[in-house]
Symmetry: C2
Subunit: 87 residues, 2 copies
């Protein structure tokens, strides 16, 4: 993950995880994002914690070993960023 991207995610230590809030203009854009994210999870077999309301989604990528985020988990976060349409 390059530095600029990484700053979009908040790194937390207890437990080790990456967190990012995504904001959307409308519910339809949020649905498109969640659908893409579900496809990505099925492809990678990684399932982050997701919470959402009408116009936002909070994503948390936990370290599955409870100690340190793996390269795969960091790459997953980077790929989530790429699901957003460029604005």
């Amino acid at each position: 993950m390059d530095k600029e991207r990484e700053q979009l995610w908040v790194r937390k230590d207890h437990p080790p995880s990456l967190f990012r809030r995504f904001q959307f203009d409308n519910y339809n854009n949020l649905r498109v994002f969640l659908d893409r994210l579900a496809d990505l999870s099925e492809e990678t077999e990684y399932y982050p914690d997701i919470s959402f309301g009408s116009d936002y989604a909070n994503i948390t990528v936990y370290a599955s070993n409870d100690k340190e985020l793996s390269e795969e988990e960091k790459t997953f976060a980077q790929r989530v960023d790429e699901l957003i349409d460029p604005t």
Copy 2:
């Protein structure tokens, strides 16, 4: 909402809300549920708080007036129950 259904939801008072956890056998069944729930939200223009992982979804229906759940909000919770395939 009849009594039996209401017991599936946990009523909380601070703030007034209904909470229910739904468990799924697999991610595909969860996706079907979330899709139906999104359709219901678009129909009713009510957007609950939803959080989910690979095999569960937690739904919270808040009182939009911050004081008391309306009949519409209780009915929304009942309709969420009906999105689950009978087992």
